[in-house]
Symmetry: C2
Subunit: 157 residues, 2 copies
């Protein structure tokens, strides 16, 4: 993982559909070399996938909420996390330090759906309490973070 890999990663994070030829031109490498490096980055698990990003509101997901989930002592965290993963409305799930065991991001079409989703959350065996923070607006999200990339990386290999 050298400076060229970091450039490739930055470029692909910016435009996941960039062609290898395009990347090569931008970096000063042949398309085949870029292809080979990308394949290695994928195989090494550095690049985990490519995804189209869809405007949530354009597909009717107008309500976002961050929900703290507090399990009762009787349930294992893993079991609760698995149950959370079953709920389609739960987009992300973090195990956290602090008052709650998990914080999840929920996205639903309407407030009514949020109420339904929270009901489903609370019906999960072992969930004793939820603490909901409604998102009023998303200022920015999933922005590239090159702190480590620029700083010269760790050695994954």
């Amino acid at each position: 993982m050298d400076a060229i890999d970091r450039k490739i990663i930055a470029a692909l994070r910016d435009n996941g559909r960039a062609t290898y030829a395009e990347l090569g031109r931008h970096i000063g490498l042949s398309a085949s070399s870029v292809h080979e490096r990308v394949a290695k980055l994928e195989a090494a698990g550095v690049i985990t996938g490519y995804h189209a990003v869809v405007d949530p509101r354009a597909v009717g997901l107008d309500v976002t909420a961050l929900v703290g989930v507090q399990p009762s002592d009787t349930a294992s965290d893993d079991a609760v996390a698995d149950a959370l993963a079953e709920l389609e409305e739960v987009e992300s799930c973090y195990a956290v330090a602090g008052d709650d065991a998990f914080v999840v991001k929920v996205r639903v079409p309407t407030m009514d759906d949020l109420e339904l989703a929270l009901g489903r959350l609370r019906r999960i065996p072992g969930v004793s309490r939820t603490h909901t923070t409604v998102v009023l607006s998303t200022r920015f999200e999933g922005r590239p973070n090159n702190t480590a990339l620029a700083g010269g990386g760790t050695n994954g290999t």
Copy 2:
């Protein structure tokens, strides 16, 4: 925005580098038709971009935290949001209802860097208080949510 568009969106969210030919085969449409539909979805702002997803730990971002930010009364929320956007460590920023005005997701290499980042956060003019929740593990993140896609769409046009 019909059922075919929704299939295309779902497929591209799953694999953002899928070729038009591939999408066409999977859906039962010619590559040119898929190309035209995707172009329209991009122009309409439904698909906002394509991005490679990088394993944060593979690039040395080992620490994640959710930070509630409480501005003082003297600063406008927009000014604070702009200042938050200046910090590279801040990956996402949500304006929220509740005790805090914003919740931001911060990613940094180490705990020391988290301390530094929180210091920078608090030095933003108008930020009076921060409340940090350290993420112990990311169970899943940015998962597709087809609640609305499946449920029949809104009319963006």
